[in-house]
Symmetry: C2
Subunit: 428 residues, 2 copies
Amino acid sequence: MKPVKVGLLGLGTVGTGVVRIVEGHQPDLLSQSGSPIEIVKVLVKDSSKSRGIHVAADKITENPWDVIENPEIDVVVEVMGGIELSKQLILAALDRGKHVVTANKDLMALHGPEILAKAAEKGCDVLYEASVAGGIPILRTLVEGFSSDRITKIMGIVNGTTNYILTKMSQEGAAYDDVLKEAQQLGYAESDPTSDVEGFDAARKMTILATLGFRANVELSDVSVKGISKVSKEDIAYGKRLGYEVKLLGIAERQDEHISISVQPTMVKHSHPLASVNGVFNAVYVYGEAVGETMFYGPGAGEMPTATSVVADLVAVVRNLNLGINGRRGFVPYKEKKLKTDEQIASKNFILLHVEDKAGVLAQITQVFAQHEVSLESVLQHPNATNPLAEIIIITHDANKAAMNNVLKQIESMNVVQAIKSVYRVEG
Amino acid sequence: MKPVKVGLLGLGTVGTGVVRIVEGHQPDLLSQSGSPIEIVKVLVKDSSKSRGIHVAADKITENPWDVIENPEIDVVVEVMGGIELSKQLILAALDRGKHVVTANKDLMALHGPEILAKAAEKGCDVLYEASVAGGIPILRTLVEGFSSDRITKIMGIVNGTTNYILTKMSQEGAAYDDVLKEAQQLGYAESDPTSDVEGFDAARKMTILATLGFRANVELSDVSVKGISKVSKEDIAYGKRLGYEVKLLGIAERQDEHISISVQPTMVKHSHPLASVNGVFNAVYVYGEAVGETMFYGPGAGEMPTATSVVADLVAVVRNLNLGINGRRGFVPYKEKKLKTDEQIASKNFILLHVEDKAGVLAQITQVFAQHEVSLESVLQHPNATNPLAEIIIITHDANKAAMNNVLKQIESMNVVQAIKSVYRVEG
């Protein structure tokens, strides 16, 4: 039987895992896909570097075109990351009729439509399961598993670094800066952690999830993003006391053609399945009109989990090759998309205020909410031992974002209010 | 465009949901599958019965052969349940080249290989996502999402009735009989609850999960089954105190070609993701060599969740029709299977004993464990207020089943032991 030949772009963490699985699971992959799968060329940055895995010297190259222009290669697996060069190479591979498997969320979030259009034109597969939530097969679940349903909400803990930091802060009462430093030492956070902690990484993944889940062309610029760098241990402690965990959630919502997408630290009720997703684990919660509540949980990153998803895509491409249907099962968005206005975005909110500790203040403040027709679920006031101010925590019922912005603006301007210490969306 | 024509066998809860989704989601189903989908014939038991949904009178029939022998029908959807008649009709439909979607776990657990062989022979699709864990797309996850991995463990809360009962017992400290009665009144349990509470329903689902996950022909008779009817509120209370919830778990394990499958009430550690799956929800935990820990959570039954899975399968059949590949993507088990012996099955165990409250008893008992090389994780002894006996709770480290059986036999015969009150497997 003729083996399917694979060119691998990148031999970092994920690339090494891909080699391990492809070489270690040969009989299984043959049974699963119908063909032997052989990695014939591997692009590396520095061929002199020693690695944890042996790859024959004649397969190694530092020149990407040795992979892209190699006529015997059927499938290109891109696990090198980055955007411009990856895009160029993937488009060139598709131009040559090669199928593509990629784990590159940045690329797919920014240039997915262009790449998928090229794939359709050339009759090629482009699969990218590993780009979101590592080992969790969530993309095929959205496309195949829920093909019959209308998904109205997707909430994801899709960044392991921030979930690790928030979990540590919650479990140990530690401060953000200390936990970040520890995460960096352990290799869970980059030396420049911006992309993770400011929510940009999660925003890219939510772009991909929302596109597939809502069957509409969602763009990265549609996502409003707020990171975790301002989350204090006090916020976490207050949340806990009221029955919430702070999680960095990506939230995509849809009503007819109106959608909203955001990434933000969110108070998640303890009884919600997302509240107990801890450490570097990821989870995606999907709500469908017919199916109701579902959640998919697993490792969000790491060599072998991510490689599992990459190789599952590779198996799918080879199955398609043997069926002669490559490029014919591609996902095509077909729904209109309009962004919700602030009047159309509703959620519960958690607000922590520092106010003067004197009679009538609480009444004045709750009056502002009433004026803007924001009703309250609970109000907690108590004097703060360490300063002469009182703390007020308010949890609202569902309120639209425009009304909430007006409430907050008005409260901020009140003389009795010293500070709006924090505002969180509330879920569950 | 020529619509794909569907014959529906059964218009009960799930059948009604299927009609609702197919009729309510027409534009979506067309975009998803590439063809309009039309239900042209519906088999009912009693055509005079009034229903919650309108189906044109000329589509209704009480004669199954009006569906099976109808030449214009492309796909037969079986949601009538039962075994013998369903099997006969499905085989007859396949003989006539019709594709089949079924939600029938009993049928697939007992006669899956025969039905799938007939489908392969006739070039037809047989899909059955809805047969396990209702709205959770777990079968395609095992077959497609984890095609690259070797799954070594599947643990499922796959019966909503028993999970509802155990959740209530845990949350309210209620007794089994009382909660069962309540569940029957609410319609969560059948008037004859045997199939659910004795674990037979879960065993059928585990047969299907293990077959797909381990890629081997697992049979219902391979599953050792124990139900929840002997679970006492005391067991649950003791478990809780030590950090465990009692759950009816299906557990399938594999090491090379050696597998074991069981259904039994199990003490699940609070930190394990299965421990917080409550009420009628289902969840399937999958451990793969490469991916590690994953879990899939959602509604296990109900009209719309189950119908979501049925119609997702219908969409897959129609996609295959439009690609001309029906019958060519079927799952074929290819792995050897040997059942593990009791010496090869290992787990932690929870044992509750009533013993005479006198010096030296604990030493005598722990000595028995030591003799059989079963090491202990924790031992808890305290006098029981209501009788002159002491209670001992022992949690073992991983021990093989044969050794455990020998330990229990020897302990039972000891004069100082009044009773072995309960024995549970421990997970997490």
